[in-house]
Symmetry: C2
Subunit: 340 residues, 2 copies
C-alpha cells in the first residue's frame, strides 16, 4: 500500500464532520482503499466478480450433500442470471464472469455462446484421498490462468470480487486451511452444503487421509495447491495475486475463497494488502483462515453459499467507504464546531 | 405481519437454488419483508430516511463532548449534503428528510427554503436532571408529529429509516433504555460522541439524578418520554408507530433510534413486527435495548454516529433480501439437482 496516500487519507478522515472515527470500520476501509489504489479518489465503480468453477475427484468419497453434476448445472444457472450470485451482483451493480477452470461436465455450449470463459485444465481434479489432486505443472497453470484473468479485465474493473462453484470444494479448502493456518483437519472442517455430523466426521477422515497420503509441504503453497487443492481454488489464488499486482482491491468471498487467499499469501505475502474480507461464513475453519490473513470480515449474516455472494454484498460497503473519503465535509468546510 | 404471505414466501425461499437457507439472515429478512408488506414482491425501492433534530436541556450538565450549537450546524451540514448521512444516503439511493422537532437554535431559514421540515415543539427540552424534560402534552405532540410525518410520506416511501441529530441525546436515550430494558443507568450509558471514562461516570450520575428526580413509570411509555425523553426521540417513536400502522418496514438506526423503538414497543408492542435493526453500535446499552426488542442487527461496523447512517447502509441489504425472494431461481425452474 501507498503509505503517503494513506497518511493523506487519514488526515482528511480525521477532520470529517462527526465524532472522531465515528463510522469505525468503514473509515478503516476507506483508508485501505486509498492505500491500495494510491489515490485519494479510489476508483471502485466498475465491479467484477470472477466466479471460478471446478470439480473435485474427492467428491467420490461422499463428502458433499450434492451430486457432482450440480457444478455444471449451477454454472448454467449463474450464466442465466438465476443464482444467488446473479441476484446479489445485480444489487451491487457488478458484472459476474464465470470461468470454467475444470468442471467434470462439458460446458462448451456456454463457452461458445460467450456466457462463460474457459481456462479449463482438466475435467476435475484427481481424488486427493488417493494421491495428488493435480500435478505441480497443473497447479502452476491454474495460478497463471487466474493472473491472466486479472490482467484481461484490468482495463474494465476497478474492484474485483472472488467467487466459486464446485461440488465438494470445501473439502480441499479445509485441507488447505489445516495446512496453512496450522490447524487440525477437524478444526478446519465444517458442514459444507449441509451434511450431518456423521458425514462431517467422515469428511474429516477423508481430509486426514489426503494429508497423510500426500504429505504437502505447508511452507510451499504450490505443493499444497497441487496435492490437496482444486483448479478453481488455484485460479482464485492467481486472480488475487493478479489483482494485487495491479494494485486493485479484491474482495475475498467466503471459506473457499479464503483458502485461495491463504495460498496467495503463502506465495506472495504482500498480496494480503489488497484483500478485503467480505463476510464471516458459518463454515467452521473460516475464522482460523481469516485470523491467519489478519482480516476481520465486513459482514456476518450466516452465509454459507459461496459463488461470490458475500463479496457482492460487501461491494456496497466499499462504495460507502470510498464516498466518505471523497464526499463528506470536514469541520472547516461545513463550519461545524469541534468537540473538546 | 401477514402469516399467510410469510408462509408462501417461506415455501419459495426453501426451494431456491442453493443449499437450504444458505444465505442465512438475508433470507430471514426476505421473510420479514414479505410478512410486513403482505406481498411476495415487497416494495422497497422508494427509500426515505427521516432524521429528526432536537436539543436537550441536560446538555447544561456537561454530558457531551460537543457544544449545543453543533445540533443546528449539523442540521445545515445534512441539508447541504456534507454529512455522513448525506453521503451514505446517496449510496443507498435514499432521500433524507430532516425534521426540526425542537433544536435550540433558529432553523427557520432552512425551513423557509424547503430544505428541512419543522414540527418544532420548543427550543430544546428542559434539563431532566432538575425536572421533567417536557410536559405530557408535549410528549403526545412529539409522537403525533412523527405519526403525521409517516403519513405525509406514505405515498412516496416504501422503506423508512430513522435518524437523529441532537447534542447530548445519548443521555436521555440511556435513561429510556435503563427504564424500558430493565437496566441500571451505568449499564445503559456509554461514551456518546467520545467522552472519557470520568465524564461517562458523571453522565451516569446525571442520569441517576434524572431518574430519582422524575420517577418515570417504566410501564407508561408516555411518562418515560415526557420525563427523560427528547423531542426528536418522541418524533422517531411516532414515526415508527406510523410506519408500522402503514405496514411499511422501518430500519432502526443506532442507539438513540433504538431508545425510540423501545418507546414505540412500550406504546404498541405489535410495532416491533415492522422494525429492522440496522447495526450494532459500540454505544454501551445498545445490546440491552436490542435484546428487549428481540432484534439482531444486520451490521456491526463500530458505528457510533447516528443521523441514520447505519439505517442507510442497511438499505442495500434490504434490497438484496427482497431480490432473493423475487429474482432467484428455484431448483425446478433452473433444472438443478437437489441435495440429499
Amino acid at each position: 500500500q501507498d503509505e503517503n496516500i494513506r497518511r493523506q487519507a487519514k488526515d482528511r478522515l480525521d477532520r470529517l464532520t462527526m465524532p472522531h472515527w465515528a463510522l469505525g470500520r468503514l473509515l478503516d476501509l476507506a483508508l485501505d482503499l486509498a492505500g491500495m489504489t494510491g489515490s485519494l479518489q479510489p476508483p471502485v465503480d466498475r465491479r467484477l466478480i470472477v466466479t471460478m468453477a471446478g470439480d473435485h475427484g474427492v467428491a467420490a468419497e461422499g463428502v458433499s450433500a450434492f451430486p457432482q453434476e450440480v457444478t455444471g448445472q449451477m454454472v448454467a444457472n449463474i450464466a442465466n442470471g438465476g443464482a444467488g450470485i446473479s441476484t446479489l451482483a445485480r444489487v451491487a451493480n457488478a458484472r459476474v464472469q464465470v470461468v470454467d477452470m475444470g468442471a467434470a461436465c462439458d460446458l462448451s455450449d456456454l463457452v461458445d455462446s460467450g456466457q462463460i470463459l474457459s481456462r479449463r485444465i482438466a475435467p476435475g481434479t484427481a481424488n486427493m484421498a488417493l494421491g495428488a489432486a493435480m500435478t505441480r505443472e497443473q497447479a502452476v497453470r491454474s495460478l497463471e490462468a487466474g493472473i491472466e484473468i486479472a490482467n484481461t479485465f484490468a482495463g474494465e474493473a476497478d474492484l474485483f470480487g472472488t467467487g466459486e462453484m464446485g461440488i465438494a470444494n470445501t473439502t480441499p479448502s479445509s485441507a488447505i486451511v489445516a495446512l496453512l493456518a496450522d490447524a487440525t483437519a477437524d478444526q478446519a472442517t465444517g458442514c459444507g452444503t449441509g451434511i450431518d455430523d456423521n458425514r462431517r466426521k467422515h469428511k474429516v477422515s477423508v481430509i486426514e487421509r489426503a494429508l497423510q497420503t500426500n504429505l504437502p509441504d505447508p511452507h510451499d503453497g504450490l505443493d499444497v495447491l497441487a496435492k490437496v487443492g482444486g483448479f478453481e481454488i488455484g485460479g482464485l489464488a492467481g486472480l488475487i495475486l493478479g489483482a494485487a499486482a495491479l494494485r486493485k482491491p479484491i474482495i475475498i468471498d467466503g471459506f473457499i475463497s479464503t483458502a485461495a487467499a491463504l495460498l496467495a499469501q503463502s506465495l506472495a505475502p504482500a498480496s494480503v494488502d489488497y484483500m478485503i474480507a467480505a463476510h464471516h461464513s458459518i463454515e467452521q475453519g473460516h475464522q482460523l483462515a481469516l485470523a491467519r490473513l489478519g482480516k476481520k470480515p465486513l459482514l456476518d449474516l450466516d452465509f454459507r453459499l459461496g459463488e461470490g455472494t458475500g463479496a457482492a454484498l460487501a461491494m456496497n460497503l466499499v462504495e460507502g467507504a470510498k464516498r466518505l473519503l471523497t464526499e463528506m465535509a470536514t469541520f472547516d468546510e461545513a463550519a461545524v464546531s469541534q468537540g473538546k
